[in-house]
Structures are given as structure tokens and as C-alpha cells.
């Protein structure tokens, strides 16, 4: 569990971060979202003490971060940033193994961990281990950057706009990868972004920041359905609210018995996908499949009814 308590950072008279208190449960993804200058990055950087807080404290598993030397603290916290920040003079394997090397893991253990992570990110170790970052595509560099942050199995992983430099298609893949890896490893992640879409897609919890203050902290559904103020509502976007809400609900929630024409959608797909399929192909219902077998259908009316119930 990560507890942030009344943490504050002031530069002169400006409160970059103003008495933010929040808690992140172990094994969850918390996304901190805000416009530039909202203090979200400063908040993140105070967790691993890249910025020293003016006041307040952060506790990881009950232990204050102020109790450890900053560089030793950072070795226990994964850190991935926009533009990956890989070491250009290290191979992929040395980049990923950088933190375990600092922690004096035996060589064989580091090598095994590097291969395990490369496999996890669908990169063939034999092919990529000895390459230099300059020889990778942008998406691959970013994956190696995240793999480096995960290498020592940290208690907590901090990600600062990790997908900001990627083009939209690769970004969506990287987000899916992150969700999948998070499910597989159960790590605790705090991620900063300016993109509400990304926040809703990735976050178990979303924290909205503005002018250094934490405005709202809740599940994506709460943020969409009950924005705390006009700023949060603006971030969510009025027009897109119903669609964003539907994007959070899997088809398995509304599946009913019955047949429907056309191609089936997987049960994990969202109601937004089903709505799009209905509109695009002029159907009133779509079939739902699970493990390759059709298990029922979701109707257009059911989706419309669901969009009107605000949690």
C-alpha cells in the first residue's frame, strides 16, 4: 500500500503540489491525470524523491520514504519515463539488467530475468538481447524502458507519460501490454498522463489534479458519471461521457440468451465496441462469444438502457 500524506512542494510562492493526500492499494493501477502545470509529474517525482517534498510524507508498505537514502530508495521503485531514457551505450540486456546489477544479483539470475521480461514483452531474447537501443523501433524502445523498470520486481512502479512519444496505434498496443503485464505480475503502478482516455483505459483508480490540488480520486466510472467539478467534467468531455462510460463495461455484464446475426464479439470487449458494431452494420444485436463459442447476444436496447443508469 502506498500512502501519500499532505505532500506539498513549493517553488518560491507557487504551490506546485498542494497538500495532496491519497492512498493506492497494492496491486492496482492509479492514474494521475491533469493538464500541464497541474503538478502531476512533481507529485510522482516526490514519491521516489527525484524531487524532495517541502512538507508531508510518502509511506510505502508503512515505511516512510524519508527513512532511506534517495538512490537506494529508487532502486526499489521502478521508473519509466516518456522517451524511454535508455542508456544508448548499453545493449538491451544491460539496460534491462541495470537495476538488478546495482542490487548485486548473480549474473545467471540477471540473465534469466532479462530473458523472462523480453519474452513477456513479445521480444525474442536471442534476437534482441545484444542490440543497442538505436537499433530498435520506437515501440520496442518503450517496451525495453518498461522492462527495465520492472526488472528487479519493485514494490511500486512509477510511470511518467510512458506512452507519450508513441503514435496512436502503437500507444494502444503498449496500453494493452501494460494491462496484460499488470495482470500477470500484480505490480502496483502509479502512472501520470494528460490523456483522460488513457486514464480511463488503464486506471483502476483515477486521480484528477489541477493547480497542484487533488480534485477527485475515484474509479473511472465515478469520474465519468459524477465529476466533482467543471474542470473534471471538461477533462472527461461532455459529448463523450456516455461512450467513455460504455467503454468501461464488458459485454459479459449484459449478455442475454438469444441469437443475433453477423460476426461475434469477444465477451471481454466493451459495450462501446458493441454499440459501434450495431451502428456500423445496422444490426439491433450482436452475438457474444467466449473461448470461441457463442454464449448469447447483447442488444442495442440493452446498451441504451445501460447508458442511462449512472452508477
Amino acid at each position: 500500500m502506498i500512502e501519500i500524506e499532505r505532500i506539498t512542494k513549493t517553488y518560491g510562492d507557487v504551490h506546485a503540489v498542494d497538500a495532496v493526500t491519497m492512498t493506492a492499494q497494492t496491486g492496482t493501477i492509479t492514474v494521475i491525470v491533469g493538464t500541464s502545470g497541474s503538478g502531476k509529474t512533481t507529485l510522482l517525482r516526490m514519491i521516489n524523491r527525484l524531487e524532495e517534498p517541502t512538507s508531508g510524507e510518502v509511506r510505502i508498505k508503512g515505511q516512510s520514504t524519508l527513512a532511506t537514502e534517495p538512490h537506494l530508495l529508487r532502486r526499489r521503485i521502478g521508473y519509466a519515463i516518456q522517451g524511454h531514457g535508455l542508456f544508448p551505450h548499453y545493449t538491451v540486456a544491460r539496460n534491462i539488467g541495470a537495476v538488478p546489477e546495482l542490487l548485486n544479483w548473480p549474473k545467471a539470475k540477471i540473465r534469466a530475468r532479462v530473458d523472462e521480461l523480453l519474452n513477456l514483452f513479445s521480444m525474442d531474447p536471442a534476437e534482441f538481447r545484444h542490440r543497442y537501443p538505436a537499433e530498435l523501433s520506437g515501440g520496442q524502445q518503450q517496451r525495453v524502458g518498461v522492462a527495465r523498470a520492472l526488472a528487479s520486481r519493485p514494490d511500486l512502479m512509477l510511470m511518467d507519460e510512458p506512452f507519450g512519444a508513441l503514435d496512436p496505434i502503437i500507444r494502444a498496443r503498449a496500453q494493452d501490454d501494460l494491462r496484460r503485464i499488470h495482470k500477470a505480475l500484480g505490480s502496483t503502478i502509479m502512472l501520470v498522463t494528460h490523456d483522460m482516455e488513457e486514464a480511463i483505459r488503464l486506471g483502476d483508480r483515477v486521480a484528477v489534479m489541477d493547480e497542484g490540488k487533488l480534485i477527485q480520486h475515484g474509479t473511472p466510472a465515478e469520474i465519468i458519471a459524477q465529476p466533482a467539478n467543471g474542470f473534471v467534467a471538461d477533462m472527461v468531455g461532455d459529448v463523450e461521457r456516455p461512450l467513455r462510460l460504455l467503454s468501461l463495461i464488458p459485454l459479459s455484464d449484459l449478455v442475454e440468451d438469444g441469437a443475433a446475426p453477423g460476426d461475434a464479439l469477444p465477451a471481454e470487449a466493451s459495450l462501446r465496441d458493441a454499440l459501434a458494431a450495431c451502428l456500423w452494420t445496422g444490426r439491433n444485436a450482436v452475438p457474444v462469444e467466449h473461448d470461441g463459442a457463442v454464449v448469447g447476444r447483447v442488444t442495442f436496447d440493452a446498451i441504451r438502457a445501460r447508458a442511462q443508469i449512472h452508477p
Binding site: 529508487r74 521508473y79 522517451g83 531514457g85 535508455l86 544508448p88 537495476v99 538505436a134
Partner: protein
């Protein structure tokens, strides 16, 4: 095939021949020597003069590298930033002092011989290395430096594992400039009795023997060209390794 692949071994062979078998070139230089004067310099072996010349240059460049890089590291730390303008001024002063003036001033203190030449070459070599190292250390990729801190490298580890390796190609450019300047400047050292290839040139100038001047000049020139080229190759190799 590039022109370098032919030129490089060709020039190396020419240089070796000039240094080891100067007698071969007697017919070439003969028209340039005054009537009846010796054509080939024989008062000292050209090999030992070359080695002594290169030794002086290497020692001075090594010392200049050590001092400049240390200074550059210190002034690029947060605590040393205030000294950056001052250290720049000092390095610049080393460059503006004419080497001949340094020789003249150093002789009373250090006597004749290699000492004053070393001092002059050292002072002259500081600026390019210092400036290049400072520039390289201040323009490292910000994302890489942020990540280096973020994953838990301490100051020393950041310097040794990330900053210096990434700065190395640009640092080497400075060292290359210093070495080549020193190779040429070292010839003046012979005016204060340092054993360098300048001896051959000065002997030629004193006796009006163009053959000597050309012989000495050619050897120094070839050394400079070949060392310059070797360091360029090394930089290119390192730069390929470190470009992100």
C-alpha cells in the same frame, strides 16, 4: 572502396621509410640541398628524434587531458557551476599565450631541454579538451540522465557509467585537436634544446638547406595526418556505439 583505404597504408609506408631509411630519399632531396652540403640529416637518428617528439606530445597531451577532464567534471557538477566562467578564462589564457613566449618564460625556471616544451604544450593543449568535455557533459540526453537518477544510480555511478562514456566521442575530438596542435608546436621546442623533429627543420633553416627543412616538415606532417585520421576513426566507432 574509399580513398582512405589506399591512402592510409600508402602514407604509413612513406612515413616509415622516411624515418627508418632516410638514405633512400637522397636522390629526391638532392636538388634542394645547397651545392656540396649533405642531403640527408645525419647528426641524430631520425627514429630517436621521432620517438622523443611523439613522447613529448603524448606526455603533454596526457597531462592536459587529465587536468582538463578533471576540471570539466568539477565545473559541470552543481556545486562547481559557479567556477565555470573562471575556469574557462584560465583555459583561454593558456591558449592565447604564444608557445614561443611560454618557452622563453619557462627556460629561466626550468632550464633548457624538454621541460619548458612540456609546459608550453600542456598549456596549449588545455583549452580544446576542456571546452569539448564541458560541452559534452552539459548536452547529454536529458531523458537518459533522468532515467539514470530515477533507477537509482548514485552520483559517482552516473558519472562513470553514463556521463563519461556518453561524453567520450566529443571529448576525444578535443584530445585530437590538442594532440595535433602539440605535434606541430613541439617542433619549436628544439629552439630550447628539446629533442624533437624540429631539430632537423631548424638545422635546415640555419644552413639554408631546404632538403633538411622538407625532410623534417614532411615527417611531422605525416605523423599529424595519420594520428588525426586514427583518432577520427576511433571517434566514429565510439559515436556509433553511443548514438541513441
Amino acid at each position: 572502396m574509399s580513398i582512405g583505404t589506399i591512402l592510409r597504408p600508402g602514407l604509413t609506408l612513406l612515413l616509415l621509410a622516411l624515418v627508418l631509411k632516410p638514405a633512400w630519399f637522397a636522390p629526391v632531396f638532392a636538388p634542394l640541398a645547397p651545392q656540396g652540403a649533405p642531403v640527408i640529416y645525419e647528426r641524430a637518428s631520425l627514429l630517436s628524434l621521432s620517438l622523443s617528439h611523439l613522447g613529448l606530445v603524448a606526455a603533454a597531451t596526457a597531462a592536459a587531458t587529465l587536468v582538463s577532464v578533471t576540471l570539466a567534471i568539477l565545473v559541470t557538477r552543481q556545486a562547481g557551476a559557479a567556477f565555470r566562467p573562471l575556469s574557462r578564462t584560465i583555459a583561454n589564457m593558456g591558449q592565447t599565450f604564444p608557445p614561443v613566449a611560454v618557452l622563453a618564460l619557462a627556460v629561466p625556471a626550468l632550464g633548457f631541454g624538454a621541460g619548458p616544451t612540456l609546459v608550453a604544450l600542456f598549456l596549449y593543449g588545455l583549452l580544446p579538451i576542456f571546452e569539448n568535455t564541458v560541452t559534452a557533459l552539459l548536452t547529454l540526453p536529458p531523458a537518459t540522465m533522468e532515467a539514470a537518477r530515477g533507477i537509482g544510480l548514485n552520483r559517482w555511478q552516473r558519472l562513470v557509467r553514463v556521463e563519461l562514456p556518453l561524453a567520450l566521442p566529443v571529448m576525444l575530438t578535443g584530445i585530437r585537436l590538442s594532440a595535433v596542435i602539440a605535434l606541430g608546436t613541439a617542433t619549436i621546442g628544439s629552439t630550447v634544446a628539446a629533442r624533437t623533429l624540429g631539430e632537423v627543420i631548424i638545422a635546415g633553416l640555419l644552413t639554408n638547406n631546404t632538403a633538411y627543412v622538407l625532410q623534417g616538415g614532411l615527417i611531422v606532417g605525416l605523423f599529424a595526418v595519420l594520428i588525426y585520421d586514427a583518432l577520427v576513426q576511433l571517434e566514429a566507432y565510439l559515436a556509433r556505439r553511443t548514438r541513441g
